[in-house]
Symmetry: C2
Subunit: 233 residues, 2 copies
């Protein structure tokens, strides 16, 4: 390959462990014999970004500022390993003038690609809102947890964010997945980047779509020129 | 704690896997119950930085530019998980106006703190030059590999950079450490950030000083205000 890889800008920290898991995947997916074969990544791992799950927290403005600074530092395409924060995708792209690789779109397309008609999404209310729209555009139904179970799911997420990835938390996540299956889900979307930190494909009877993994694959493909850089949407 | 943590700027990518190991350590060492308790880190993971082991490669200028951009993006103190690149510490600090936490100084101080008189350093020729100076300032002797073994050590490092952290490579690293012990080393300094990717304290009969781990600890302490921000040196 003779063209220089694109510089990847990462809006990270939401949460910080999920960002490192994403960065590790990008490295693992890059064919490299030496340091110089890897993609240059400028990552703003900003865990002080306001909570994406609190309305009116001002997360959008902070993300827009971060995106602008990444563009200034040399980033040429952006990725954000946080499903919920994609509610601010438009603002991020306008503020930076850079395209943001669409993690929600990747997750919805993969769910549709399985042939399932109803996708269960484990995610925050904000992420579920995004997936509802994207899945509807593909004529797919959305299965979510009943209100009480959704609250229990968020409690599990906050345990992971506190650093707990032990067996108890893993069992909780398996139960949340099983509840979606019982509600009629035919495929499972890990719609929160903390989910795959405690759950793999073998932990659920449903096919597992991991948008974080898809985002890493797409990031590598775009930066190395295997796929076209997306347009600003 | 009421003061806002300092924003950590990271000059990374040398190599990329070592940078992620450093970032993971920073996270693990930060007391955090939620995302917002973590330190904000702006990391330029730039594996395209010219090879630090090739004289005249222009690595210093690239690192100075990266440091300036990190300052512009909001970094308040810098860390660089690459021993060899510390040859450019002065340029980096002048270009950015920010202090760089001195990894070589941390490694040399820890080696001296063990009470040993002769430190064996596993590192590139450039890193060894830096440690020689720092250890001499503490009246400590330096033990290095014989020329041929040093070349074999570099071959091991390049294997790790190519992604090979298997048992064969680990055995090679243990042999390099043992060679330093045979030459009279009383303490072992992992003077290249790739070394700890394949060697832990139990893999050598010598006490192991890991400057990358010390850099992560110091980074957390400085950013959280437990220790004063270092002066530009």
């Amino acid at each position: 390959m003779t063209t220089k890889p694109l510089v990847l800008g990462v809006l990270g920290g939401m949460g910080p462990a999920a960002t490192l898991a994403y960065l590790a995947r990008v490295q693992a997916l890059t064919p490299a014999e030496r340091d110089q074969d890897h993609i240059r990544v400028i990552a703003d791992i900003n865990p002080q970004a306001p909570d994406r799950n609190v309305p009116g927290s001002g997360a959008g403005e902070v993300l827009a500022e971060m995106a602008g600074a990444l563009a200034g530092a040399g980033a040429q395409v952006l990725a954000m390993p946080c499903n919920t924060a994609h509610a601010h995708a438009g603002l991020i792209q306008r503020a930076s003038g850079l395209p943001l690789i669409d993690m929600i779109g990747l997750g919805a397309a993969a769910a549709a690609g399985t042939g399932a008609r109803r996708a269960g999404v484990l995610g925050t209310k904000g992420a579920i809102r995004l997936y509802r729209e994207y899945l509807a555009a593909r004529a797919m139904g959305l299965v979510v947890l009943p209100a009480e179970a959704q609250e229990a799911f968020m409690a599990t997420i906050y345990k992971i964010k506190a650093g707990d990835t032990g067996e108890e938390v893993r069992a909780e996540m398996r139960a949340h997945a099983e509840a979606l299956r019982a509600e009629g889900a035919e495929v499972l979307v890990a719609g929160c980047t903390e989910v795959p930190l405690v759950m793999g494909p073998r932990d659920t009877r449903l096919e597992l779509v991991d948008p974080g993994e898809l985002l890493a694959r797409k990031s590598v493909a775009v930066c190395l020129g295997w796929e076209a850089k997306p347009a600003i949407s």
